[in-house]
Symmetry: C2
Subunit: 304 residues, 2 copies
């Protein structure tokens, strides 16, 4: 099945208690693409970069099966740049620099060959861009998933609510779920948010795992306790990429299969945080993934 | 199997966003006792109270199978009293009053009939008291479990380390595990703490669930998403009581059975927080518990 991914392809400078890495690869689009690439091979990326972006990185993406025809390259432009520093406990972070650069004028043009994509992953961008992408599709997709953040709830809530009506799966963190719904208890927040449009809500809790809500059904997947978390950047995107990639590879949108999707997403997020940037998520093989899925399986398994 | 519980039997005044309740029943000993009472009926309580304690509450405890011969009643004494106010998000709380009262001079005398107890639950008290209890036992118990907190790590670390050498299962929260071990990653913290004595470590993460570590084995049990959390007081004690009660009822200290114990503890904690004080945990029946265990089972169940 075909997967359309809209997100950033960017540079990051990241400081964590484990080191500082300057001008490394970042951006939701490439994280989602890499994580999905282990499950599905028809991946179409929609993004924008400057001509400062390294050819080597673009060819690495193509080699993992990503079609980059939808990545606009702006001549003499600079790619989106973010710099951040994580706190000692890795749970919080401060943004030091956000240079939108070419992203400031991003008006996605979906190539004709992308318009009948069956699975759509709308990475965290302005709701206007997310709506524009959906408007350009020629065929109703099988599954539309959207990631967003508190910033868009603060500055573009009405547009966010518009796009939510057209989305099947929403993925946000626990604080964002509380902000969007006005409810503290996550089970109540999920009821409110499902009435806004998305029939499936995934609440990401970082090192505390993820919850999937659908009607009265709830599923919880833990995060794997890891010996080392070097850089949490991209974890949420790799989670989303692993989830949507698995969904696209199976073509089965049942709740039971979404549970497996959540575990696949959690596994990809766990790989992502073990090293800086996309360094770990670029170099996995099937055995790495199978072993990790088995660890997730064993982690919560018990018989009454 | 017989279960010996050492803990406080006390009064609390509790304020949460859902109300304020004055001079209600509190204390780790009675929470542990009630939670365990649904699984085992030979429960011996060691504690201290003033003669201000309500007879009705003592007879309620006896009616749930708790032997109170080990509860010293101090004539003209006042029972331990704690007052606290929870923050709006219920995750943090401020202690407003701690009146030790009779607890200040607590020097537990273990009745002869208690000294061969097979399962020992040492509630959160000074390490000196916990050591004194172990010193008075006449037979090596099958399983000793200990609860403690950051306060004892701050003011009595050496004595705490002494008692830890004699304990099979330690239960603390994630921040306490980090403080005790000096390691941030919980999987590393668990390795360090297991070398201090307890072969089994349970890390409680409140609304984020609980982890069980033993050697290289890890098990994770989520907390159940609840519609309403009215009062978190006693949740950790009910978790411990459900766990040790289940362990005592089965007589099986294998890792597989401890996983079931963790789930039983999580279920009892989930009942506890749904109402103030011990109001909910006092009035359960087997069907309530079976239904809840089934919800826990379904919450994390998936097939690869």
């Amino acid at each position: 099945m075909s997967l359309l991914v809209v997100g950033t392809v960017a540079y990051d400078t990241i400081e964590t208690p484990f080191g500082k890495e300057e001008m490394v690869i970042g951006g939701s689009g490439q994280y989602i693409g890499y994580a999905a690439s282990y499950f599905v091979n028809d991946i179409k990326i929609v993004s924008i970069i400057g001509d400062d972006y390294q050819d080597k990185e673009l060819s690495d993406m193509k080699n993992r099966g990503m079609d980059l025809d939808g990545v606009e390259v702006v001549k003499d432009g600079k790619s989106f740049f973010w710099a951040g520093k994580y706190h000692d406990d890795m749970n919080g972070r401060d943004t030091l620099v956000t240079d939108l650069n070419v992203l400031a004028d991003f008006d996605p043009k979906i190539p004709n060959g992308y318009k009948d994509s069956e699975y759509i992953m709308l990475g965290n961008l302005t709701p206007d861009i997310q709506i524009s992408v959906l408007d350009q599709l020629s065929v109703k997709p099988k599954l539309v998933m959207l990631d967003t953040m508190n910033f868009w709830m603060d500055v573009a809530l009405d547009r966010l609510k518009e796009v939510l009506k057209r989305v099947d799966v929403l993925t946000i963190n626990d604080e964002e779920a509380r902000q969007l719904s006005g409810e503290y208890a996550l089970i109540k927040a999920a009821e409110v948010i499902q009435k806004m449009g998305p029939k499936y809500l995934i609440i990401k809790k970082g090192e505390h795992g993820a919850l999937l809500f659908h009607g009265d059904d709830v599923f919880f997947a833990p995060a794997l306790p890891l010996h080392q978390v070097k850089d949490p950047t991209g974890a949420g995107d790799c989670f989303a990429g692993g989830f949507i990639g698995y969904m696209a590879s199976t073509g089965d949108s049942s709740f039971e299969n979404m549970k497996r999707g959540i575990v696949h997403g959690s596994a990809m997020a766990s790989f992502c945080v073990e090293d800086f940037s996309n360094w770990n998520i670029k170099k996995l093989d099937q055995k790495n993934i199978d072993d990790r899925l088995r660890r997730f399986y064993n982690l919560t398994r018990f018989e009454l």
